[in-house]
């Protein structure tokens, strides 16, 4: 586009400037090479995705194969992560749990992003009473400490996968709403926006085709980071029994099961699922941080 967008200042956000000199993908790879932590993050997230996709297919044991003869075995060659108190192989369960956890987390993040962004965009764009109304409601939602609110929602809905998704999505909505609103308020006054209006775009077209795409980058960064935090919250809910139920393969549930055998010293039952969680969250955090760097022209590698 011919408009000089480099003079637009958006808090913390990024506007793609002039058409790229090199292809987008090779540019992306170039950025990655200078940013090893981000690369690590991407790698970790890819590993999680791959486990989620093919893990259950190639896993050596049945994740729900109760076999009391092999109960609570220490890690060994045949069971690299050991077995739990029912004889189920922990490595298999950790890998299979990736699928469930990822599914819940992605659903929650997508849901909260869509809802939050919509609310924030409309609030910022239309302003006045609508803006006030939406923002007050977000105030109320944000008045509760996050996890306490998630606990209350999860308790009201009863344990289950859908509950975890709804509860964790609910606490994330205000973050997106506020962010989107800030972005929208700035972008609304940007030169390219004024130009688009001058040329005769309708309000909705302006909103959808011109303003939103320019707000995407911070949203993407926030979403990536939210994936990490949502994993922690989902695992926390399942750990205390308000989320996914025993004995499903889910990382939080597995830690709860490990807690039962704590005094017997079977540390592997809760250690490895926890490491999996930390690993996954670390990956999303590194990736999110890195995306911010890559997509922000001020911090790009040149």
């Amino acid at each position: 586009m011919a408009i000089d967008e480099s003079r637009v200042i958006v808090p913390g956000a990024v506007l793609t400037a002039a058409p790229p000199v090199v292809g987008r993908f090779s540019d992306f790879v170039y950025q990655l090479r200078g940013n090893p932590a981000t690369f690590a993050g991407l790698f970790i997230v890819a590993v999680i995705f791959i486990s989620a996709l093919i893990g259950p297919l190639i896993a050596p044991y049945d994740p729900y194969g109760v076999n009391l003869g092999d109960a609570a075995l220490q890690p060994s060659l045949s069971h690299p992560f050991g077995t739990d108190q029912y004889g189920e192989d922990i490595l298999t369960r950790v890998v299979v749990a990736a699928r469930l956890d990822l599914l819940m987390v992605l659903s929650a993040v997508v849901a909260s992003t869509v809802i939050g962004v919509t609310l924030g965009a409309l609030a910022g764009f239309f302003g006045h009473y609508f803006d006030e109304g939406v923002m007050r409601s977000q105030d109320v939602l944000q008045a509760f400490p996050r996890f306490v609110f998630a606990m209350a929602v999860a308790w009201a809905l009863g344990p289950g996968v859908v509950t975890v998704i709804v509860a964790t999505a609910a606490i994330n909505i205000p973050g997106y709403a506020r962010l989107m609103r800030s972005l929208m308020l700035s972008v609304k006054e940007a030169q390219f926006a004024l130009a688009a209006v001058a040329v005769g775009n309708s309000r909705w077209r302006l909103l959808w085709r011109h303003l939103l795409p320019n707000c995407l980058t911070p949203i993407i960064v926030l979403s990536t980071l939210q994936c990490g935090f949502t994993i922690l919250e989902a695992a926390g809910l399942s750990f205390i029994g308000l989320g996914v139920r025993v004995p499903q393969a889910e990382w939080g549930v597995m830690i709860a099961m490990g807690l039962q055998d704590f005094l017997q010293g079977h540390w592997w039952i809760y250690t490895f699922p926890g490491l999996a969680i930390a690993f996954a969250v670390l990956g999303f955090n590194l990736l999110g941080d890195g995306l911010q760097d890559i997509l922000d022209p001020k911090r790009r590698r040149v």
Partner: protein, 568 residues
Amino acid sequence: MRRLERSRQEEVAALEAFRASLTRRDVLKIGIGAAVSFSVLDAVLAACSPANGPSTTSTSKTPTDTLVVAVEGDIDTFDPAFTVGSKPAQTTIQNTFDQLTQYKHQDKTVAGVSFTGVDTESIDGMLAESFEVKGNQAIFTLRQGLTYQDGTPITAQVIEQGYKRVFAAQGISYFLLSMAAVPDGNHIKALDDRRVAINMDAPNLLLMKNNTMHNTSSVDIKDVKAHATPTDPWATEYFKKQLAPGNGPFILDEYVPGDRIVMKANPSYYGTKPKLAKVIQKIVPDASERELLIKRGEVDMIMVPPVQDLDNLKQDPGLQVLTFPNPRNLFLEMNNKMAPFDKKAARQAVSYAVPYDNILKDVFHGYAQTNRSVVGNGMPSSEFSYWNYNTDLKKAADMLASAGFPNGQGAPPITLTVRADWQEAERAAVLIQSNLKKIGLNVSIQKVAFAPFNEQEQGRKLHMWIDEWLSWVNDPWYHMSWNVSSDSPTNYVSYSNPQVDALVKKWTLSLDVQGRLQGSKDAQKLVTDDAPHAFLVGPNWNVVLRKNVKGYVYYNDELNRYAYMYKS
């Protein structure tokens, strides 16, 4: 408005923070290093895992005249007329209130275990110095000079009022009397200052036994009147959280909700004074935590220890593990009114699928007996020979097909509910779920806390659940009236068989001892065939004590009698 400002700043700030990204190789190295060192640490830990965890100690940290007990829950009510759920509450009432009569002690051996228990066929006077049962009437003569701990004399009139309250307060305790043909408070009469008569509508063998339980303890009417309100004339709200002055060997010294119940010896007790000066019942809801406390010498006794650790605890030279086989049933309950369990063949299929051996050995580690009938081993007339549901998945699948659900098709998904703090039930549930999956039944496990669990169970809303039952009166017809009679308030599975009902009606209040035993066997045959629930196992009652704690007597209600205990 300021909130907007702040939040925008917050947004900026948050995003700025996210910019503190790790773009240096060093950080990557450290990150990888951290991950690697974690796994190395774990491998090292694996290599030198200690065998038994935190050190045990044989030295106790509590004074000799004080017994410190870690109990599993808090008080639900201090009112004898209402107690049903919390054993610590019942124990406290049992130690602060005496009854008219009580069982005599007896040394016995059950399933190879020797212990001091009670002889449920022989009764002694407690508050009553003598008693007499003639036809429809039981007359109790009170001892001279009895008083409550605050000095109020205990007369026959006071006892009569106490019984009347049991009926009027509409708790659960009056059932114990109404099932023994004493349907209302008018059947209790004080004949004079020292003699109380209980009149039965029909003579029966149950009244004297039911009457030994703490539930019928008399609260002083003076205290009731002092705390009654217009909407609550029997002071039930007050006595929920306040213990009335009692007449037993101990007095309540201090109660801190959620923390502890402290009792001290009653200096004006009429009977043998307790050897202990003080009993501290510390409320520790987590079983592992109780275990920790006794291993470290912080407490002298723990209730409901984790079964899976009992073998370990036995190895500790400072501890003794007591286990008492008893007729308790652990039932896998199936709601007879909800599909698929409304079909007998489906229930039988489940009975064939349960992994009984695994439950006995791997969940209860042998601290249980096999249970093959609604009347458990240790109760007269218990008969296991009618049972043949040995674990056989093929037979289970066939039965399921004959019920109309070949390979589980057409059967609705099943919710198996267990109480949240009950590890053994949860483990058994997982094993059962796994086997039922193999015959095509889809079971999901739900853990519910104690109070809502009871509510749902009593409301007959549960689908399939695990629960236990121990009858405090060791009589098969007492037991069956609660469990298999179709109009029993605790027949939660809604089992109904008119033939069984007829037998219950015929034999419960009968005086024909032989007839009752034979009739019980007939009833068991019917019940076992109907399979309203599956009989999982008969869990023992377990207690862990420090080696120097003596005098534990096992009563059928499993409540601790601290008056007989002491530390050497």
